[in-house]
């Protein structure tokens, strides 16, 4: 059973989500304002937070920042605008993933599942191995394997993959990836990423490539499901 905190000012959506999630055996905590939501988060420690960005009392981005100031709970943001910049800002502020309204329950559940699976970021084992599903990365020797089959990667390709693996389950924005893998002077060169991710998918094969999800205009997410 998952305890999900849903913060949205649209009461109809709250009711629908409560019924839909409860039918799947989840417990739903509903909040119509940021204040109520933050109080629920502090008092009842939900496993996952579903947060609408357009709340009446506090800007959604600010809510994400406040959540991150005291909790590592996975946060999935809901957005009713088609504009990418709000979602990117929410992800940069620490949200794990986003869903655009309107969405089907299957989509939301998949996102919740992914977020929960990677609720604790994967840590490398003592021998420097990082595992995400069938993918295994040897951080010391810069070697990657999919289902124990070695994959030849360049140093940059490996660093990109390792960064996404360390943040498995979280949608990493272009800027985050560029900053951390290429350096602080990079941030807008999304076309680099497109080329590298294309090559990575090809090299990882069918099974490995499926791990890499593209969020058009926003970023990439590596997850085991």
């Amino acid at each position: 059973m998952v305890r999900a905190l849903v913060i949205d000012d649209d009461r109809a959506l709250l009711r629908a989500l409560r019924v839909a999630l409860a039918a799947k055996g989840h417990e739903v905590l509903a909040a119509a304002t940021a204040e109520e939501g933050l109080a629920n988060l502090a008092l009842r420690s939900p496993d996952v937070v579903v947060l609408d960005l357009g709340l009446p009392d506090l800007d959604g981005l600010e809510v994400v920042r406040r959540i991150r100031s005291f909790s590592e709970v996975p946060v999935i943001v809901l957005s009713a605008t088609a504009l990418e910049d709000r979602k990117v800002a929410a992800l940069d502020a620490g949200a794990n993933d986003y869903v655009t309204k309107p969405f089907g329950m299957a989509e939301l559940e998949a996102r919740i599942r992914t977020a929960l699976r990677h609720a604790t970021p994967p840590a490398a084992s003592d021998d420097g191995l990082l595992r995400v599903g069938p993918l295994e990365l040897d951080l010391m020797h810069y070697q990657a394997r999919v289902d124990d089959q070695p994959v030849e990667l360049t140093a940059k390709e490996f660093e990109l993959l390792a960064f996404l693996a360390r943040h498995a389950g979280k949608t990493c924005t272009h800027q985050m990836v560029l900053h951390n893998v290429w350096g602080d002077s990079y941030g807008t060169e999304a076309e680099y990423l497109r080329v590298y991710v294309y090559r990575l998918r090809k090299k990882l094969g069918k099974k490995g490539g499926q791990l890499l999800r593209t969020s058009p205009g926003i970023g990439y997410c590596l997850s085991a499901g």
Binding site: D10, A12, L13, A16, V19, A20, L55, D59, K101, F103
Partner: protein
């Protein structure tokens, strides 16, 4: 340029007569040279007042007076002594030279004064032009100030429009249509024939800025008036630059306006997509849950989800209807179906639209006694109330009530006030809250609902505004709008409604 020569001539003659009268008794005792010296005075006086022409009159007068009255034998033009011939000759040369020098000096002085006056006028006009006046006002200023500065009978300004020159402003006597037509087809300076029966002379000066003609200034002087050609041309250049600058400024303003409209349109599109997607989200979540196989839903769950789909579909339908109505109002295509309506009924209906009833305790309804009927389109006003109430409920703390208060004002209106205890609208946003489609900017408020409410209220010719909370520590937002009172007798209407 000084007074006309006739005054100078008269002065010279008068001086000559006076001096002659004074000198005649003494003439036997004075030398010819002394008298010649004294007789320079009328010439100088004449020249200084009347210029060289008056000087010439003075010279001739004095020359003959000198010979006739003071050179013996007296009262004849005959000169007896040879030395007197010399004196008369020298006198003639000296006065001629004096007259020339004095008249030149006088003319130079007058000219410099004239220059100074011209410069002052030019400066004044230039000063007018650098003020950032709106173009129509600038054009009026140009023609009227050129007319007064150059003392003209008429000034007309023509600017290019649709590929030809058109009269945009004129002061004093206007151009005849033929003249305007003649000018419109011309390029560069031209002279115009006066129209039949007219006096005066026309002149047109091209206004050229940065090598490009920007217009034409047609002036009409009174006949015989001297023109300040150079000054007019110099000023024409200023005018051309001022017009060009004004044109550029208008373009800049237009550009900024377009940018603002573009931003507003984008905000509107954003708000529409947000408000349409919000009910869709609930529909999609509910429908996808109902469709998913293998999910154990209780009959109560199924009913609740189905109800949500139903209610949100209605909400979408209302929103689309409102948007269409707003568009039709703005396009002038919607006619109000006014009918006598009771405000309390409208409030109840609005609550029903929102799926609430007035009995749930989250709304306080107060109305002054004997509230008259209002003459409104009930569909639109119900929607105004629904939007304001929806907004108020959304931003109220859970345990506080929304207040609706209606009263009759002194101006034969009914004023309806919807107040909540939420965060309120910041003072600086109150004037523009109705256009703040971006909820984030408006502190969550705003959005389409208020814009629609404003459009519907204004369609009735009434006003809607956001009010300051009463008192310093009061919280919450207050939206107020007015409605016109029904002109028929309220009792009669009430009876009529019963019968229906």
């Amino acid at each position: 340029m000084g007074r006309p020569p006739v005054y100078g001539s008269a002065l010279a003659v008068a001086t000559a007569v006076a001096l002659t009268a004074g000198l005649v008794p003494l003439r036997a005792h004075l030398s010819a040279a002394t008298i010649a010296l004294v007789l320079v005075v009328p010439v100088v006086a004449g020249v200084s007042v009347g210029g060289f022409a008056a000087g010439a009159v003075a010279i001739v007068t004095c020359f003959f007076v000198y010979d006739f009255v003071f050179l013996p034998p007296y009262y004849t033009l005959y000169i007896a002594r040879n030395q007197d011939w010399i004196a008369l000759g020298v006198y003639g040369v000296i006065v001629a030279l004096v007259a020339r020098v004095v008249s030149a000096a006088t003319a130079a002085q007058a000219e410099s004064q004239e220059r100074a006056a011209q410069l002052r006028r030019l400066f004044y006009l230039s000063e007018l032009l650098v003020r950032d006046l709106p173009v129509p006002e600038l054009l009026e200023t140009i023609v009227s100030s050129v007319r007064s500065a150059f003392d003209l009978e008429g000034v007309t300004l023509l600017l290019p429009a649709n590929g030809r020159l058109e009269v945009v402003a004129s002061a004093g006597l206007p151009l005849s249509p033929e003249q305007a037509g003649h000018l419109a087809s011309s390029s560069g300076p031209v002279s115009l024939e006066p129209a039949p029966g007219e006096t005066g002379e026309f002149q047109a000066v091209a206004l050229v800025a940065t090598g490009k003609a920007v217009g034409l200034l047609a002036v009409r002087r009174s006949r015989g008036a001297r023109g300040d050609q150079e000054l007019l041309r110099a000023f024409a250049n200023h005018l051309a630059l001022a017009l060009e600058r004004a044109g550029l400024r208008e373009e800049a303003v237009r550009g900024r306006l377009l940018d603002e409209m573009d931003a507003l349109r984008r905000a509107l599109v954003g708000a529409v997509s947000h408000d349409l997607r919000t009910p869709l989200a609930t529909i999609k979540v509910s429908a996808s849950t109902l469709l998913e196989s293998g999910v154990p839903l209780s009959p109560g769950d199924v009913k609740e989800l189905a109800e949500l789909v139903d209610a949100q579909a209605d909400r979408l339908d209302r929103l689309v209807t409102n948007l269409l109505d707003m568009t039709r109002i703005q396009a002038g295509a919607l006619e109000l179906r006014r009918q006598p309506s009771a405000v309390p009924d409208l409030v109840d209906e609005a609550l029903a639209v929102l799926g609430r009833s007035g009995r749930t305790g989250d709304i306080r309804w107060r109305a002054a006694n004997a509230l008259p009927l209002v003459d409104v389109d009930p569909v639109l006003v119900r929607q105004v109330l629904a939007n304001l109430l929806d907004n108020a409920f959304r931003y109220s703390p859970p345990d506080s009530a929304v207040t609706v208060y209606a009263r009759r004002t002194a101006g034969d209106k009914v004023e309806v006030r919807v107040a909540d205890n939420g965060p309120g609208v910041p003072a600086e946003d109150r004037a523009r809250i109705f256009h703040m489609f971006n909820r984030r900017e408006a502190g969550g408020r705003g959005g389409l609902g208020l814009a629609i409410a404003q459009a519907f209220v204004e369609a009735h010719g009434e006003r809607i505004w956001a009010e300051d909370p009463p008192g310093r520590n009061a919280r919450g937002a207050r939206f107020v709008f007015t409605l016109p009172i029904c002109e028929h007798d309220a009792d009669e209407e009430a009876v009529g409604r019963e019968e229906n």
